[in-house]
């Protein structure tokens, strides 16, 4: 065997070895709120029709204990969901299911250390968990932050409201955590102890903490890479936008801008889209270092759901009206009235937008054409039969929908398989 062949064999062997060790490397991942880049666009081929009663295109349906409005996440061949239960939502659950079969692989139970109250439509399990591919970070409205490995072994548990007892909002909190650099970042903005902090992924120790406006805010942080290469987190609140170096907490920039407190900021291709009256697009990594407004369009308002961008097209949900716009100019290209009230952010896959309202009615919008010639029409309406508030996940040609009581895998089935 010559050296070249030996080298190739070694590479193949090593690749096979690491794939065996790391099943999470196998597949498309959806590792946090709105997917891996915080922009809910999937390369999956998702079904356009399914029937929950007949079971057509339903891969599986698994029960979830308690309640929850968090979204599921997919890491390799595992899917993770949080839930909360008990009379006062004081029980915290982390659940792991097999993507292929829907079998529950493990469940871990904890007790909340912070405030557990919420509006009846929400739950303690409101934030979507996040994973860096090796560790899972589950966060709750009670401001309890749990770190587990993918097999359910506890790495650490932090009760952030145990440490800062006035942190909490009895309407419920919902900002999902993000991972950037070596830290996991949580945004805890409320009328009491209001702050954002970064916690070391491996030790659970606080790396930095920043006081925030003492006002209720449900917007989740998002991340991007700053021009100097620093992993950076952007925090949106009612009074503006702030960027911090994720690893050090050093302020990179801040902008006074009246922003929404429910939808979350979106970063795509060095541009930041935020709800601010309507939608404002800002350029990142500008020569001055501060974001610069590119366009602002009042009629592109987002409410509970967050926007989506793919190429030259921008999508948002203003109340129950789905809107498509040119992402370069903000010019509105199409509008469609949907049914119901929405909390889940729509996801985009294979030229279709998947909208799910809080009653569990899935409305699939087909996008025809690109750029300024794009048009849209509703091509499918499917009733899940249960309330859905969490943003779904898409991976491996399957859509994962979390209702209040169940986790569903929706996928194109061939001959019932």
């Amino acid at each position: 065997m010559n050296n070249l062949i030996k080298h190739r064999v070694n590479i193949l062997t090593m690749t096979a070895f690491f794939l065996t060790l790391s099943p999470q490397l196998w597949a498309e991942e959806w590792n946090g709120f709105r997917g891996p880049q915080g922009n809910p666009v999937s390369t999956s081929e998702l079904p356009l029709v399914w029937d929950v009663e007949k079971g057509s295109n339903i891969g599986w349906k698994s029960e979830i204990p308690g309640r929850g409005v968090s979204g599921p996440i997919v890491v390799g061949n595992r899917i993770f969901v949080t839930a909360s239960g008990g009379v006062n939502q004081q029980r915290l659950y982390v659940l792991c299911f097999d993507v292929g079969s829907g079998k529950q692989l493990w469940r871990r139970d904890f007790w909340a250390t912070g405030r557990t109250y919420s509006h009846p439509t929400s739950a303690n399990a409101a934030p979507t968990p996040v994973s860096d591919g090796k560790l899972l970070f589950a966060f709750y409205s009670s401001n309890d932050l749990v770190c587990l490995d993918l097999d359910g072994n506890l790495k650490w548990f932090r009760g952030l409201a145990h440490d800062y007892p006035k942190a909490g909002n009895d309407v419920g909190m919902a900002a999902s955590p993000v991972v950037a650099g070596n830290v996991v970042i949580v945004q805890i903005e409320n009328q009491g102890d209001s702050f954002a902090c970064a916690v070391d992924k491996n030790s659970g120790l606080e790396v930095w903490r920043k006081p925030r406006d003492p006002r209720a805010n449900w917007s989740s942080p998002t991340t991007y890479t700053h021009g100097n290469g620093a992993p950076t987190v952007i925090l949106q609140s009612g009074s503006g936008l702030t960027a911090f170096d994720a690893d050090t907490g050093t302020s990179i920039w801040d902008i006074g801008l009246s922003c929404g407190t429910m939808s979350s900021p979106l970063v795509v291709n060095n541009a930041l889209y935020v709800t601010s009256g309507g939608i404002t697009k800002l350029g990142l990594n500008t020569p001055s270092g501060k974001p610069k407004v590119i366009w602002a369009v009042n009629k592109l308002n987002s409410n509970g759901a967050s926007p989506v961008v793919l190429g030259d097209n921008f999508y948002t949900l203003s109340g129950a009206i789905a809107k498509g716009a040119n992402s370069n100019t903000g010019e509105i290209l199409w509008q469609l009235r949907l049914k119901g009230r929405f909390w889940a952010t729509p996801i985009l896959a294979n030229k279709h937008l998947y909208f799910i309202n809080q009653d569990g009615l899935v409305q699939i919008v087909e996008l025809e054409g690109d750029g300024d010639s794009q048009a849209a029409s509703i091509v499918s309406v499917i009733d899940m039969g249960e309330s859905v508030l969490g943003t779904p996940a898409a991976a491996d040609n399957a859509l994962f929908i979390r209702s209040d009581k169940h986790l569903w895998k929706v996928t194109n089935m061939v001959n019932g398989e």
Binding site: W106, D144, H162, D170
Partner: protein, 387 residues
Amino acid sequence: MNLHLAPRHVFRVICIGVVAVLSNPVDCVAGEIDELTATIRDIGPKGEGHVAAQQAWKSLSAQPVSELVTVLKGFQGANQLATNWLRGAVDAIAQTALNESKSLPETELQAFVIDHENAPLARLTAYEWLLRVNPKIKKSLLPHFLDDSSLELRRDAVASLLDSAKLSADKSQAETVIAAYRRALNHARDLDQIDEATKQITDLGGMVDLPRHFGFLLDWHVIAPFDNTNKKGLDINYTPELDANRFIDSAVTHLGKLPDLKWKNAASEERFGIVDLNGIYPDKYKGAIAYAHTTFESSSAQNVQLRLGCINANKIWINGKLLTRNNVYHANMMIDQYIVNASLKKGSNRILLKIAQNEQEESWAQRWQFQLRVCDSNGTAILATDR
């Protein structure tokens, strides 16, 4: 990041490291497990003790299932944070055993569950694992939980009483059924179970004094409005704060947003003791502070909890001592929303509340109300001697 370790943590880290290297976890003796759980119990706020605890957790979660009860005993004295770490270890041990088709030590777990000297959340953990492997055991355990300090265990026992009462409804006299529901009510601490028992009793013609069951205080003196423009008033010491901690003199006037304010009587007739300040002051003042005062005659010097439900910013004093300050407006209201520990002296105790309304104009931001009860840490009402 603070990585400094206290000397006791350094010692434990070394010990745990030695144990991990030299011994097979299967051979770990009870004393060593106690050391591991003690290390986890040392977890403090803001990540204190994490480094040592992470090593301890690894060793602890690798213990054989035969040591499950030893680990559960380690919950004793643990704070909320450490309890969650220990729960994670118990779950890992039990799940591993089941995955390997091994049995849980059911007999030991049963004995542990019914021994009320053990930590409530440890008993609950043991109970939940017992039910996973042997659901039929539930019925025999429930009678042990009727007065449980674990409210989740108590809940299951009360649910069983409610079921029995419901089953007896068709074949028994109303008085017998009422008695069955009343037994459930007396043990119940969760609002939904109290509601269910109350509804059934009253539907059958019985009476339930809900405020008494909860320990809500109904008779108050109130005075308003004092200025809370721009939410500045919560920390201004208006004259009623001085008076109310000494005495209530209904004849004395106070200067507030209006002149000549006087204390007035206010009695709640609401089933959960809610005092509606907008009902007392029909002008529905905005940017306003109200004070509410009452006395509580205690049979002895005792530690209690004051539990406030309030949709407005608030403060609570007892005998002139400030217990809590919550600067939160219109973010929901529910029973037991704010819980504070308090020490009562024997005899008369003065309770003063400050309830702050802001200036929001939205329809959902108009309520100005509160409810307060006195109870123990399980939510069992503690009644004044003159009630």
